[in-house]
Symmetry: C2
Subunit: 415 residues, 2 copies
């Protein structure tokens, strides 16, 4: 059988139509989770899914499941999806792409009269971004039993509104129970520069980096920049800067997709002619292997202790988050590669630097992800952009991988 | 003749009385220039000076000159002084000490019935701190013709009030013309840790460090901390941190009291999981010798260029201030040392890391400064503190150095 291809124009048009809900002047989207704009986005998806012959289930945390029946509807569904909520200054593709690509898969199967043995489901997970309510990936986390639904419903935004109240107010609190998932795929823009830089259309995502996040507090002593000789200083910014340099060294020397970042720094008193007495900073360490991640952290802790002693400052390093590395299902990842090959698309293995809903689904079902390039690697930004042909290519890879998993039972026509 | 000694208790009491004007709960003083509190401080000084038999002149920028007539009143006065304004969170000694020590010199000469050939003047310079109106050392700068008085009167605070308006509103705009100064002394707390750390009571200040200040703008590219591999980053905070480390290296390796400080840093977007795309920071470079100061700056510019190339960022280094190094009058500095020796006080040569009104007076008159220790080197801080015996010791050095310069004409009694 020839590989299937989606209708790229229809997919692109759906993405652009969806992006009008919460559109920002700079071309981005602001559609915070469980707001009325999110409701409009959800309503639109539900309407389109119903128009494609799908049935809708909503669960207690507001996850939406649109189902296309299988020939044997008792089989666990082959699922795909992502999220419809955005960052406060988000773009048109992050999340929306994965949901619309799933919808396009179903529409294309309808066009072709293809029925699969297993049912196909398209999920829209609640609150992936975590911008309004923490934690991120709330809906998929509840589905995978990472979080208790009661605790999540009680989480509040800065105005004191709870997730439960917000869900009710937009009419998206349901009672569907979780079902066993046969396989889970998620199409997503890369949100990084690797595919674009290597001229590759498809990233076959092998898993996601493990993450350890830290809050770092450096304490020295304020003193006048003029009268204080170098040898009598306790310069917290010097200590912090040396730790930034060490963070980069560690990330550049360890294997297994090592990354480490100081993204946030606050200096006190932050005055031009005062030697800084205190610095607060963050540290974000990632690696594909748990043992290498730990080795990086231990290296950085040793560096911090050495720097503290040499600068006569104290450096307090406190862990605030740990995500274990994810390893996606090798057979499904190979199916993504095979689909790309069959379509004649360039493809390379890639490890996701960020977490996605797929990371939680991976805990309960065989999972794989498909990355497509985004312009300049830019995401979480109103200028986030992607090429229509590459958006279509990723969805074509998705349809073939899903059909392989769900197994074709009937086809009205050879593709 | 035995060396003279001031009345340390009276001096201390005057400092404590003055510190009640603008006193803060933590024991500091907030007496911003040309405010009503500054007026109260000025009025108090003027009243005490008149009570000590002095005459008052006010000039166009509000500098106050309290004069004790000399036997030959046509001789250029031997002047001392400092400032009565404070930082927003200032202490009891910075500035106030130099003015009160001058007043105590006169009171003590009165006690002893000593008349000097040259007149003695105590100056309170307007707006040394520069907290409300820039630039710092405004009054002494005008006196030394560094600044045009018209331009300074037009300087405005954040509320749009001009120096001229503020001077009139507190009644301190006069019309006294500048007089030729025979010699200028200024007593001041060190504002640094050197005297305390070396167990020394008196610093004979040889001059002040030259200063070059810079605004540094580092531009890289924001990117996601997760999906962006190390080799594809343009991390502005890494570049900035390497420059902080280089700044410290340069200051620690160059001679001539080299100092260099990054006191201020602002990171954008300053988010935990975003590689920073931009950093603004300051750079403050100081040295006792102009040529060494320039060599430090050139070294740092080369370092910045190398770091920019290696991190694929741009680093823009813009000079915003230059103060040439000051060298005080060798004879007056020796007179300070001699006075300390005669009084049996420990004394060491020191270079002022900060600028003072004396730096501008040094341009128009032979000048020297006397430093006394302050607790922990702490200044520009409500916790600024000094020991009464050391405060008295500095004023005793001052009276002997001033009397040596003004020449004793009559003494009612041998000291």
């Amino acid at each position: 059988m020839q590989p299937l291809k989606v209708d790229g124009e229809r997919l692109w048009q759906s993405l652009m139509d969806l992006a009008r809900i919460g559109a920002t002047p700079k071309g981005g989207v602001r559609r915070l989770t469980l707001t009325d704009l999110d409701r409009q986005g959800r309503d639109t998806f539900v309407q389109w899914a119903r128009a494609a012959g799908m049935t809708i289930r909503i669960d207690a945390i507001g996850n939406i499941f649109a189902r296309r029946a299988g020939v044997d509807d008792s089989l666990p569904p082959v699922m795909t999806g992502s999220h419809l909520d955005t960052q406060p200054s988000g773009g048109k593709f992050d999340g929306a792409y994965g949901v619309m690509a799933g919808l396009e898969v179903v529409r294309r199967l309808n066009d072709l009269g293809i029925r699969t043995r297993a049912p196909i489901e398209v999920a829209a997970w609640t609150n992936e971004e975590g911008s309004r309510f923490v934690p991120t990936m709330m809906g998929s986390g509840v589905y995978a039993s990472v979080y208790a639904v009661g605790e999540m419903l009680a989480q509040k935004d800065v105005d004191g509104v709870s997730v439960g109240e917000a869900l009710k107010s937009i009419g998206y609190q349901g009672d569907a129970k979780p079902v066993k998932v046969g396989a889970y795929f998620e199409a997503h823009i890369e949100q990084g520069p690797v595919l674009e830089n290597t001229g590759t259309t498809i990233g076959a995502v092998q898993g996601a980096l493990g993450q350890r996040w830290f809050d770092v507090e450096v304490t020295g002593q304020d003193s006048h920049a003029g009268p204080t000789p170098m040898e009598l200083r306790r310069d917290a910014l010097l200590a912090a800067s040396r730790l930034v340099v060490e963070t980069n060294r560690v990330a550049c020397t360890y294997p297994d997709n090592a990354r480490a970042t100081v993204g946030h720094m606050r200096v006190a008193p932050n005055s031009r002619n005062v030697v800084p007495g205190a610095v607060n900073m963050t540290l974000d360490v990632r690696n594909a292997k748990d043992e290498t991640l730990l080795a990086m952290v231990e290296d950085l802790r040793r560096s911090a202790a050495k720097i503290a002693a040499e600068t006569r400052c104290t450096i307090d390093v406190k862990e605030v988050l740990y995500f274990a590395p994810s390893h996606f299902d090798p057979k499904l990842v190979e199916s993504v590669r095979a689909s790309a090959r069959a379509l004649g698309l360039s493809c390379r293995d890639i490890v996701s630097g960020a977490a996605h809903d797929a990371v939680y689904l991976n805990r309960i079902a065989p999972t794989a992800m498909i990355f497509v390039p985004c312009e300049g690697g830019l995401s979480h930004n109103e200028l986030e952009n992607a090429r229509p042909d590459e958006i279509a290519a990723g969805a074509s890879v998705l349809i073939n991988a899903m059909v392989a998993a769900a197994v074709v039972a009937e086809a009205a026509q050879a593709a």
